[in-house]
Each structure stands twice: as C-alpha cells, then as structure tokens.
C-alpha cells in the first residue's frame, strides 16, 4: 500500500499524502487504493486556483472583513497563571506594521532532557532572568551630606541568581566612572570621587544605579516555569532569542519568540515568515474567527518576499510598488509625484489602481488576456 501511495509523491502535496495514509483503513484492496488516489488527484487538480485570480484582494478581504469583529481589548489571560499577551486587533496591527518595538515581547523556551522533565527548572529560569541592581536592593540610603549612596543588598537574592558580590561591584564600577564602589558585608557604598556634587545629581545617580544591568539575559524581565502537557517549559516576558540560543540547556529547535525582527535577525527570513503566519493565526483562532491559512500566508509572503521583513505601511510594502500612481493613491501622493518627477520615472500601468484611474481594463482576471482591438473612432 505504501508503495502505491509513493507513486503519487510529487503529484500531491506531501501533507496531503500524510493525511491519506492516516485515513486509509489498513486492509484496503490494492485496486481501491489506486482508485482512491486517482480520485484525490482529480479532485486536487480541479481545486487549483485559476490563472488570473486576484488572490491578493481575496486575502485582503478575508482578513479585513472579520477584523471588524475583533476586540480591541489587549488584556488576555492565556491560561490563568500566565502573563498578559497582546491579542485581538492591536496585535494584528502590530504584526502588519512589522513594529520594531512590540507591546508584549514573549518567549517560550523549550528545554532539553533532563531539564524538560522539571529538573532544576526554577534555577534555570532564574539564570535566564535579567537582573538589574534594583532586583537585589533591600534598601537605599542617600546621604547628601557626603554625597554617598548606601545600598543594602539582599544577599539571598544575590545568591539565588548565582551572582557574586565581587561581580556586582565590578560591573557597577565599570558603568559608574568617577565613583568609588565598595562593599562591606551587605552594604554597598557608592561615593563620588569629585569633592562636591549637586544634590539633584545624586538622586539621578540613584535612579541610574537601579537600572544597571548585572547578570542574566538582557531584555528578559520576567520568567515563569510552566508545565505544558508532559514537559516543563519556561515562558518569559521580554525577548532575546540570540542570547537564549547560546544556552546549552535550551532546545533550540522548538524555542519560540514573538518578535518578528528578532527572529529575522537570528533565524532568517523564512523563520520570520513562519512566525508571522503563526502569530497571526494565533490571534485569529483566539478570537474565534475562521480565516483560511492561505490568506495569512499570502500576507506573510508579501511582507517577506523581498528578503527583509516589511510592514504593510507606506514605508514598507507599498513603497516597493512599481507604479507611481498606485503608491500615490495610498498615502502622501505629492511626495511620490515629486520623487518620480526628479528621476523621470515611467508608470507602465501594470497594476490595478492606475488602470481604474484611467478608465482602462485592469490586468487581472478577465482583463488578463491581451486582446487587441480596433479603437473606435
């Protein structure tokens, strides 16, 4: 039976062949298998898109029409214990814009054996978490009289994040030039080398110290070990795929981020495309809408086919259009006209909107065949 199906590889998409294998009852007659495969091929052939079909517009409609039904509410609890994730219309906008800064960056870190069984999971999570000075502070005492800041360190926390106090002092001294940093037991003292200092500067310094990065992975400001089915994973708020990938206990194959640009930078454009599809589909499913994945794929492909992630904005995908009039009809028409006039650009009238403007047949669908006709005088 396997052999009979194998014949059809290449004629049918691999996914479909897998599905057929799953559905075929074990004791199917050979002749029946052939018959089934022929029928499926026939059906597959007759379901192909026709040349000239405006698949772009159909996809835009299919996503645009139900987007009116999505909620604006950003808050959502993906399971009771986990963190807030941007969902609904705002997230769709975020993806389509290809924003550099997303509202809720997030990672799902899968772990290798034996850690995925729950071994040392809390420690691992703590190691990943970004630690700033503020995370170790128990108390801050500002002494304006001798321009000194005393910080009472939470030694227990320091220990659990595997940071030594010496390291703490070193990093602080490195980023605070012109100050002396000393530690005595749990009191960290920072004193200016300069004789006198403006009191407001001391307070500024205090704020600055709080935000100095000490250890862990930058950008990951919250970690959460979670059980997903049989295994443990670490969900984080804040994303830094590049650094996480360097860790040896992380399963690099399955680990996910929701930051498109980061994925593009670390894993490349195909991964970014897949991520656009997944992220968009997640929102759509969550909102209980029904949109075929092909439409989302097409959007993802238009965003990515140039080799870089481009948003669906006037600076992204629309900017790349070959037609001046098409660009002008979207936003900032004057700008496009001026730029076009300086380089003597020629609009070949190949796409839809400029032919609409000129009352001419559009080159898609029934307008695609090039029929030459006599001009009526």
């Amino acid at each position: 039976m396997e052999l009979d199906i194998k014949e059809y590889e290449g004629k049918l998409p691999p996914k479909m062949i897998e599905e057929i294998k799953g559905h075929l009852p074990a004791k199917t007659k050979k002749s029946d298998v052939k018959k089934i495969m022929e029928r499926i091929c026939e059906e597959y052939k007759s379901s192909q898109v026709e040349p000239g079909e405006s698949v772009g517009i159909i996809s835009a409609e299919s996503i645009g029409e139900p987007s009116t039904q999505m909620t604006l509410n950003t808050f959502h609890f993906a399971g009771v214990q986990e963190m807030n994730v941007t969902l609904g219309l705002p997230r769709i906008i975020e993806i389509m814009d290809a924003r550099k800064e997303i509202k809720t960056p997030m990672m799902q870190i899968y772990l290798k054996e034996p850690y995925c069984k729950g071994k040392d999971i809390k420690d691992l999570a703590q190691r990943i978490k970004e630690n700033k000075v503020r995370d170790f502070i128990k108390e801050i005492i500002v002494e304006l009289t001798d321009n000194k800041i005393d910080i009472k360190i939470d030694l227990q926390k320091l220990k659990s994040s595997e940071t030594k106090d010496v390291v703490l002092v070193k990093t602080l001294a490195k980023s605070l030039k012109g100050y002396n940093v000393k530690i005595e037991k749990d009191i960290l003292t920072i004193k200016s080398k300069a004789k006198s200092e403006n009191p407001s500067d001391v307070y500024k310094l205090k704020e600055k110290i709080k935000n100095i990065y000490i250890s862990g992975i930058k950008g990951v400001y919250q970690v959460l070990p979670v059980k997903r089915g049989e295994e443990f994973i670490i969900v984080t708020a804040g994303s830094n795929l590049k650094e996480i990938m360097k860790l040896d206990f992380v399963d690099k194959v399955r680990t996910l981020s929701n930051d498109l640009h980061e994925i593009n930078a670390v894993l490349g454009i195909e991964a970014a495309r897949a991520s656009i599809i997944n992220e968009t589909y997640k929102v759509i499913e969550n909102q209980g809408l029904n949109i075929d994945i092909r439409h989302i794929m097409l959007v993802a492909d238009t965003m990515c086919f140039s080799g870089a992630v481009k948003g669906i904005t006037r600076y992204g995908v629309v900017q790349q259009k070959s037609s001046i009039l098409a660009r002008a009809s979207f936003e900032t028409p004057i700008k496009h006209f001026i730029e076009a006039s300086l380089i003597g650009e020629v609009d070949e009238l190949n796409s839809v909107i400029e032919n609409v403007m000129l009352n001419q047949p559009i080159p898609t669908g029934t307008g695609m065949p090039e029929l030459y006709m006599k001009a009526s005088k």
Binding site: H23, V49, E50, V55, T68, M70, T71, F77, I338, L342
Partner: protein, 851 residues
C-alpha cells in the same frame, strides 16, 4: 485610415519637471493682467479667464480650439515672473544641490576618484537610493572644493524658502546661476535624471497657468460670480508680479523690491501648497483657508482618492430593503417605479423589431415601456407623447431602445460597507409592487443586511460584456462558498433553521398536510413522499434532497446525521448542516450537484423551515424561562457555594495566607481566582438550565438548533447575569476603595465588584443595573474605536495586496512580475473550491470503499 489595433489607450505615463521652455511652448496665452472680466462680463484678453485658456460660460467659444463649453478641455497659459521664485515642493532638493555643489564652480564636492567610483554603481536601480544617500553624507563633510579649492560653508535653510550660505542670504537668482553650471554628469550622482530635470528648473522664472476649465467660477443666485480658489490665488500672483515689474522698471529702492519679491514668493508658495507649517495659510475674506493645488490632490477628499480611484455611476438606484422569502435567492425585487426609471439598451434587429415597437408605443409613462431611443450615430432621443409617432417611423435595425427593466434582467446588488466580494452580487430582477427592494433573507449573511431600515444599491449593467461578466462571475450561485474559509456563506438562518429543526426532529403530519406544506414552498412533484397516511417531518424534508444523494455527518449535539439515497435515515437538521459558516450538508450538495441545483434546494429548504414555523406557530413567552422550584434551588446553591468560596478566598487574602501565582502579585491572584469561580458559577447555571428547562420551550429550540442565542443567554435570563467585566477585570473604579457609595470600603465581595446575582427575569438591583450600564458603555466605546482602526488596516492590506495575482504558470506574482509565492498557499488550492480549506480525503475514501 489604417486600422489601429491597440490593447490599451494609454500605455504608460512618464513624470518629469516642466522646463521654462516647455511651459512657454505648451502655453497659448501670456497672462499680464489680474483683471478677469470687462464691464460687459466678457473675459479680458491677457487676463486669467482669457478665452484662449478655455471657456466656462455657455455660448462662448474657445479661441484656441474653436470648441464650446464641455467640448474644450482648456489650455495652459503662462506668466513671466519679474524675479525668479523658489518652488516650495522642491525646497529639500534645492538644499541638497546647494550643499552638494561648490559655491564657486558648481562642481559636486567629491574627489574625482569618488566620482568615478559612484558613477559605476549609482545607476543600478535598487541600490540607487543607498548610494545617493551615501553621497549626500559624504558631500556634506567637504569644507573645500576638490576642484577649485574654494572654501565651503554649510548651507542653512530658513524655512520655508530662504537659504543661507555663510550666514548670508542667497537670492533665487544666485541659486539659479549656480545651478545652471552643474554638469549633467554630476546630476546623476544626486540621483536626478538630467534628461527630465535640470536643477535650475526648480526655481521658477515662468509659471504655468492652469486652464480655466480646471478652476471654473460659480454664478450665485444673485448673479454675482464667485471665483475658484485657484483663480483667486493666481490673481494675487499676477497682481504682485505686475507691481514688481513696475517697481523694477521705475527703479524703486532695493528694499521695496525685496519686499515685493518676498510677497510674490509667498503667493506662489501658497498657490502650490497652502498648508506649509511655517507660513500662515492664505485665506478667503470669510477666514476660510484657500484650497490650492496640494489640497486638491491629497487626502481622502482629494482628486486621487475621491475622483480617480472612486467613480460615480449612472443607472443605479437606492432604496430601503425588505425581506421576501418567496422570491429566489438569486432574485431581487425591484419596485415598479424604479423599473420604469432604470433601463437596458436593446439593439433593434429585424427579428425583435415588433417587440421593440411595443415598448416605444408604451412610452416612458406606462410599464413596460421605454425611455429613450439611441440613433446609430450616438444621438439620444427622449420618447414623449409628441415624439413617439415620429420615432416609430424613424427606427430601423441598428437603433437602440432604452427599455424598462423586465423580469429576468440582470442587476448588481450591493450593500455598504462592501467589505468582501459577496457584498456585490448579481441578481435577476423581479419587478414587484411597492417601494422597497426585496431580497431573500437567506442572502442577508453575505451582505450583512437586516431589515431595520437598511438601504441597498442596485446597478444595471449597460453592455453585453458587462452583463455576461456579471452573470458568470458575480451571480449569487457563484458566491455560495466563501473564499474566506471554503464553506457555505449563503445558507439557512434563524427561522428556517428552527423550522427545519422542529420538522426533522419529531414532527408528524398527515399526507394532505404534507402536500400542502410542500406545495406552499413551490414543490410540485410529490412522488418522493412515501405512500402512507402519517408522514414524518424527516420524510417531508427528504423530498427536497436528490434521490442519489448520500451524506454522513454530525449535528450540533454530536449525534449522527445519515442521509442515504436522498432520505434522512437518522438525525435532525440544525445549523451544523444548514447554517452559514458550517453548512456541511449544503457544502456537500454544492460539491456534487453544482451551484444551480444547490441554490434551488437551498431556497426550498429555507422556505420549508419558514413555512413549518408558520404552520405551527413559534413565539417566546415568559413561561419559557420557568425552571420550577427545583431549578431555582439549584441555582441558589451554586451561587451560594460560589459566594462562600469567594469569601473564603478574601479571608485568606486578608490573613496573608493566599499564595500568589508565579509572576503575579497576591492581589492579581485573588482577582483571577475570584473571576474564575464566578464565571464557573454562571456556566454551571447554564448546565442546570439545560437540565431543568422544558425541552420544547421555544427558547431552548432556538438555542439548541443553532438558530439564535446560546445557553449562556438563557442562563442570564433565567438564573444569573454574571460578572460584569470591565477591561478584562472586575469593576474597580469609582469612589475611594469602593465602587459605589452603597458599599463598605474595601469590600472585595462579588456584588460590590460587579457581580449580578439574579437573572433578567427577576430583574436587576440598582447597583447591578449601574454596573451593567458601565460595561455596556465600555463595549459601545470599543466598537466605536474599533471600526476606524480595522478600516485602516483593511485599506492598507487591500492597497498592498491588490495587484497580486496568479499567473499562467501557477506562481503568485505582484504587478512588477516578482514572485511572491511559487505556488498559491503552498499547494495551489483555491479556498473557495475546497471544503473548509481542505480536500475531503475521507469522503473520497469512504465513497470508493462503499462502491
């Protein structure tokens, strides 16, 4: 003449900057006076309304082309500016040129070797922008001209149109002379095509005057003329320009000339763009800002989006819609009044002459008549009682008659907002009495229409090509399957689902009744009815299904639905099989029999459902919500349990015993837990409702058939409305530490935080009512804010994707011919030809095996 074969009338449009020479060449008149009309109201020669520039008054003739109003397109004129003036739209480019060239020799400020290096790369299309930017950065660093060794200063700009070099103002004259010396080779390095632009053209010496037909004046009722904004602005320019000329000729002091020059610059700037940040916009006497060239083009109301991308049409009509389930799904009921106004041109031939004569005889005032006759030369003649006789004699084959709409004519029906292609579908016209458009309620879903006052538009295609295209591509039957998810979108809804559910569940009737029912929906062949006295509802429904149709499916509640050879063996019909967005039965019918049969069957099913309800009656009453004492008690226990659990939690919280979820604070944990308990209470109440309520109550029929409403809605009426969530949380805002003044401070209990304890049937307490109003308003706000946001996302998407299409080789490409996907959706399957985005493998396997 040689026959000319063309594909497009316009093949391409090229852009460029007008040189003074071109302006002069294309002009037909030089404008020298700001006066518009003489004493008789006739346009002045050499004025802005010069008849050589075109005409806007009836009766006048354009001196250039000898044509009358509307025939003459108008012609450009020009004015000679007394002093050169900077074109605002090129301000940035002028600055780039000033910074990039030597103040002495006008060469680009690059070493010779750099020039060579960049020259080879700059013209390679894609990287052009990058290189040009790189050059501009490099050039800005130069302090000395590499060619003539002249010292360079950074040119500054004082917005909007003043340039400073070494803190001294450079006049446009100076800029022009500098620019004239720039070589064509250097221009390439600025990313400018020297064949279409010379930098000195960015400083105007001549100005083109747009034709009169571009700025028509309006005659007010009082006989006064009101000129267009552009004419006003041009008048200002010409006036100042003349003054400047006179002053220069009279040898006026430099300071006066400078002032006038600046004024001229201001007027010309605002002529091009009246919304520049640094200068006050030019205004009417009333204080309203003038709408000049930029304003005319841009934004939604501008030329491009309003007039070019969106067009208006004749032969259309709009009125209120109302339902009529007795007309076909692919029909539209058109009022007679409308049918007599709209028309279809029909060509007279020898064969149809007799008919056509009848229409003409009837004239425009009686139906079915005709409104106009079109002669072969294109001349249109109105049919009136006076002209009728003469026209009847005149007509012969080749003439066209614009006859009234008839049953079976084709029209495109549309409801805004037209969010997807199913918002515009082609229907067959059915002329009906009364004044509304009638449509079958089954096609409400794709239009998203209801009958609370909605209006819809009707368009009548006027050519054979348009009609053919509309019929083949847009007719209702072709749109049965949504391209969004590959399932039926036109399907049964509401009453028809409830009706078919009741019918196929357990209804029985005698044969006479069954025949009456079927006849009322338009079935004429009763041979499929079994020959017995009592006929079940399933058997009645089976009459509509073709005899060779078999189907295995599931109903909403998960029970099997089996149809074998056109007979329902098992199961009831509900929204899973009939409804829109699932409609598996309908999807399978469509696959097997094609659109025409499906739409017929669908129409019958729809009517069968409605008529069943009509026969039996279907209303809702308060007693539908009765659950008896037992039910009420169960609700009370559920609620009491929930409340005591919440109290327990709050106690734990105050005692500090509550353990926070990882990554959450204790307060958040408490809220989450409470929310979980209260929502569970409501869902449990729903289950109790399902258990205790009378199964035949019409409310439950509606919800279990999937016609309308769900069990939560019922639970809210009967038992408990539930927690009012505000931005995903319990209600928190209001007074200090409490939501309303009727609660104690720091009360975290359910009722103080927006839990509505009773159902709508019992009624709401005042504070509960208030909370509900809060969330109600919140959701109204949400909708109001969402609509424009999603509208914009939609506009962007459709703009970005509009020219992506499948090519003959199966690849998906954009307008430039670049490949976006090698195969559409990775497998090339058209969603609207698939079943829910897939090919139904299981069905094929089952079918082959059973064979």
């Amino acid at each position: 003449m040689e026959p000319e074969y063309i594909y497009k009338k316009i093949k391409s449009i090229s852009f460029g900057v007008l040189s003074p020479k071109v302006i002069k060449d294309m002009s037909v008149a030089k404008v020298v006076t700001p006066e518009l009309y003489d004493k008789e109201g006739y346009p002045v020669d050499g004025g802005l309304m010069d008849t050589r520039l075109g005409v806007i008054d009836p009766g006048l003739i354009c001196k250039t082309d000898g044509l009358k109003l509307k025939d003459s397109l108008g012609h450009f004129g020009y004015i000679e500016l007394a002093r050169p003036v900077i074109h605002v739209k090129f301000v940035k480019n002028i600055l780039a040129f000033l910074r990039g060239t030597c103040r002495e020799c006008s060469r680009i400020l690059l070493e010779d070797e750099d020039i060579e290096k960049y020259k080879s790369t700059v013209n390679k299309g894609k990287i052009k922008k990058v290189v040009v930017k790189e050059i501009s950065v490099k050039v800005a660093k130069a302090t000395k001209c590499p060619h003539c060794k002249e010292k360079q200063y950074k040119v500054k700009i004082e917005k909007p149109t003043t340039y400073l070099d070494n803190e001294k103002r450079i006049s446009p004259i100076e800029i022009r002379t500098r620019f004239e010396k720039i070589t064509d080779e250097d221009l390439i390095l600025f990313g400018v095509n020297h064949k279409v632009v010379r930098p000195e053209w960015m400083i105007l010496t001549l100005m083109a005057i747009p034709p009169v037909s571009m700025r028509p004046s309006i005659t007010l009722e009082s006989g006064e003329r009101s000129e267009d904004d552009l004419t006003h602005k041009l008048g200002d320019i010409v006036r100042i320009n003349q003054r400047l000329f006179e002053n220069i000729n009279a040898g006026a002091p430099e300071i006066i000339i400078e002032d006038l020059w600046d004024l001229l610059q201001y007027h010309i700037t605002t002529f091009f763009d009246n919304s520049i940040a640094q200068i006050p916009p030019a205004r009417h006497r009333s204080g309203q800002a003038l709408k000049t060239i930029t304003g005319r083009i841009k934004s939604k109301e501008g030329r491009i989006r309003h007039n070019l991308a969106g067009k208006r049409t004749n032969f259309s009509s709009r009125t209120v819609i109302s339902p009529d389930s007795m007309i076909g799904l692919d029909e539209v009921g058109v009022p007679k009044q409308v049918a007599m106004k709209l028309s279809v041109p029909e060509r007279i031939t020898e064969e149809n002459k007799e008919f056509m004569v009848k229409y003409i005889e009837k004239g425009p005032k009686s139906y079915p008549g005709a409104n106009y006759i079109v002669r072969p030369d294109g001349k249109k003649k109105k049919i009136t009682d006076e002209t009728k006789e003469q026209l009847l004699e005149e007509i012969e084959p080749g003439y066209q008659v614009e006859r009234h709409l008839l049953d079976g004519d084709i029209a495109i029906f549309n409801r805004q907002p037209s969010l997807h292609r199913m918002s515009m579908m082609c229907h067959k016209i059915r002329v009906l009495p009364f004044k509304t458009f009638r449509l079958n309620p089954a096609v409400c879903a794709p239009y998203n229409a209801d009958f609370d006052g909605d209006e819809m538009n009707l368009h009548v295609p006027q050519t054979e090509e348009a009609r053919a295209e509309a019929e083949i591509l847009m007719q209702v039957q072709t749109q049965l399957i949504s391209p969004r998810y590959g399932l039926g979108i036109i399907a049964c809804n509401q009453d028809s689902i409830a009706g078919n559910y009741l019918l196929t569940r357990e209804m029985e009737m005698d044969k006479k009744e069954a025949i009456r029912l079927l006849a009322s929906i338009g079935v004429e062949d009763f041979s499929n009815l079994p020959n017995k006295d009592i006929i079940t509802g399933k058997e009645v429904f089976s009459v509509l299904i073709p005899n060779d149709f078999s189907f295995n499916g599931k109903s909403r509640d998960g029970n099997k639905v089996i149809i074998h050879n056109g007979k329902i063996k098992e199961g009831t019909m509900d929204s899973a099989n009939l409804g829109s967005g699932s409609g598996l039965l309908i999807r399978t019918l469509h696959k097997k029999y094609g659109p025409d049969v499906t739409i017929k069957i669908l129409g019958l099913m729809f009517r069968l459902g409605i008529k069943t309800l009509l026969k039996n009656g279907f209303t809702v009453t308060l007693s539908d919500l009765d659950v008896g004492e037992k039910g009420t008690n169960e609700f009370q226990t559920i609620l009491k349990d929930a409340e005591s659990m919440v109290d327990e939690l709050i106690k734990e919280f105050y005692d500090g015993k509550l353990v926070a979820f990882p990554g959450r604070s204790v307060e958040e944990t408490l809220e989450l837990k409470i929310l979980g308990i209260l929502n569970k209470a409501r869902n449990d109440s729903g289950k109790v409702v399902l258990k205790t309520i009378n199964k035949d109550a019409h409310t439950i029929v509606m919800s279990s058939s999937g016609a309308r409403g769900n069990i939560i809605n019922l639970a809210q009426m009967i038992a408990v409305v539930g927690q009012q969530a505000f931005r995903g949380q319990r209600i928190e805002r209001g007074y200090t530490d409490r939501t309303l003044s009727c609660f104690e401070k720091k009360d975290l209990g359910p009722s103080a935080r927006g839990f509505i304890r009773d159902g709508f049937k019992k009624g709401l307490r005042p504070h509960e009512f208030f909370f509900m109003a809060m969330t109600g308003r919140d959701s109204l706000m949400d909708t109001a804010l969402r609509t424009p946001k999603s509208g914009y996302i939609y506009r962007r998407l459709s703009n970005a994707l509009q020219d992506i299409k499948v090519e003959y080789d199966g690849t998906v490409r954009n307008a430039a011919g670049k490949i976006v996907q090698y195969k559409y959706g990775e497998d090339g399957v058209d969603v609207s030809k698939s079943e829910g985005g897939k090919i139904n493998i299981q069905r094929i396997i089952e079918k082959v095996i059973t064979e």
